[in-house]
């Protein structure tokens, strides 16, 4: 996607109230792929003893990233809504680390976009969480 469209997408994500509340920043988007990061914050902690971020915040990040990937797919229309998202939590995120989600919309039909997302914290090659989702799409004119 051109620098212009990436900038528009970045502003779009930043303008969504809940994404803004969680501090999400979109870095790359285009051709059915997106990457969004979420810096560590004390307010997102789920377990005060360990300082690990709550799974719910990671889910919100992955849902946003998956939706962005769908919207950036060449065959997608302007609007999308999550139909289903299955999240696997593989390990606790490293306290203090920024979490980055990467999503690929690997198939698009007339009505549905199929997406895979993974979330990493840079501490290991094993993702913190992975998800697969189906998104309802409004097709643009083809």
């Amino acid at each position: 996607m051109s620098a212009d469209r990436t900038e528009i997408a970045r502003q779009f994500i930043a303008g969504l109230p809940h994404c803004d509340a969680l501090g999400m920043v979109l870095t790359t988007i285009g051709e059915g792929e997106a990457e969004i990061y979420m810096p560590y914050s004390e307010k997102l902690v789920g377990d005060p003893e360990s300082g690990v971020i709550h799974g719910g915040a990671v889910s919100a990040l992955m849902d946003t990233c998956a939706g962005a990937a769908v919207m950036s797919h060449p065959k997608a229309g302007p609007a999308t809504a999550t139909l289903d998202l299955r999240i696997d939590y593989m390990r606790a995120a490293k306290p203090g680390a920024t979490i980055t989600a990467h999503a690929i919309c690997y198939h698009m039909t007339r009505a549905v976009g199929f997406v895979r997302v993974s979330a990493t914290d840079g501490a290991s090659d094993v993702p913190v969480a992975a998800a697969t989702g189906a998104f309802a799409v409004e097709r643009g004119k083809s």
Partner: protein
């Protein structure tokens, strides 16, 4: 035969409510999201009071799917933890040491309707509570209980809370 006098209801309620608020208050993310828990006997209802910063689609507008997923996950985790402390509370113990939280293994969220910009409620049902694993169904609704907004099934790894006293 002498019967022990039952505890005054207020004492019982206070003990139950104190344990519930202690359980909820220790999670920064729950206060950040503004989730609240209401209790009737042992049944919990989670409340996600509407706030503009929960919106994920400004044109509809609709609640962020991630906020709803988080709401369901928190409801499941608190309900599971509550089920672990409940027997102790009923045995008259004050719960000084709260159990560790279960860990989410996976969560499958089914988005049934778009989340309206108003309060949401959720209840979790523990389908199976094993010593090591638990399965939970959790559902959230808004104005109409018969028309759920989101539904999820999750699997959780239960903490090892056995102490030398057990």
């Amino acid at each position: 035969m002498s019967r022990t006098k039952p505890e005054p209801i207020q004492v019982v309620k206070e003990r139950r409510d104190a344990a519930l608020s202690a359980l909820v208050a220790r999670v920064p993310y729950i206060s950040f999201m503004g989730f609240e828990f209401e209790r009737r006997g042992d049944e919990l209802t989670a409340v996600m009071p509407y706030r503009p910063d929960l919106i994920g689609n400004t044109s509809l507008p609709a609640l962020h799917g991630g906020a709803l997923a988080a709401f369901l996950e928190v409801t499941a985790l608190i309900t599971l933890s509550w089920s672990m402390v409940w027997p102790k509370i009923e045995a008259g113990e004050t719960v000084d040491v709260l159990p560790k939280f279960p860990k989410t293994i996976d969560l499958t969220v089914d988005y049934l309707r778009s989340g309206l910009p108003r309060d949401a409620y959720a209840r979790a049902e523990i389908t199976r509570a094993g010593r090591r694993y638990a399965s939970v169904q959790v559902e959230a609704w808004q104005d109409n209980r018969a028309r759920p907004t989101v539904h999820a099934t999750g699997h959780f790894l239960m903490p090892d809370n056995r102490t030398s006293n057990d």
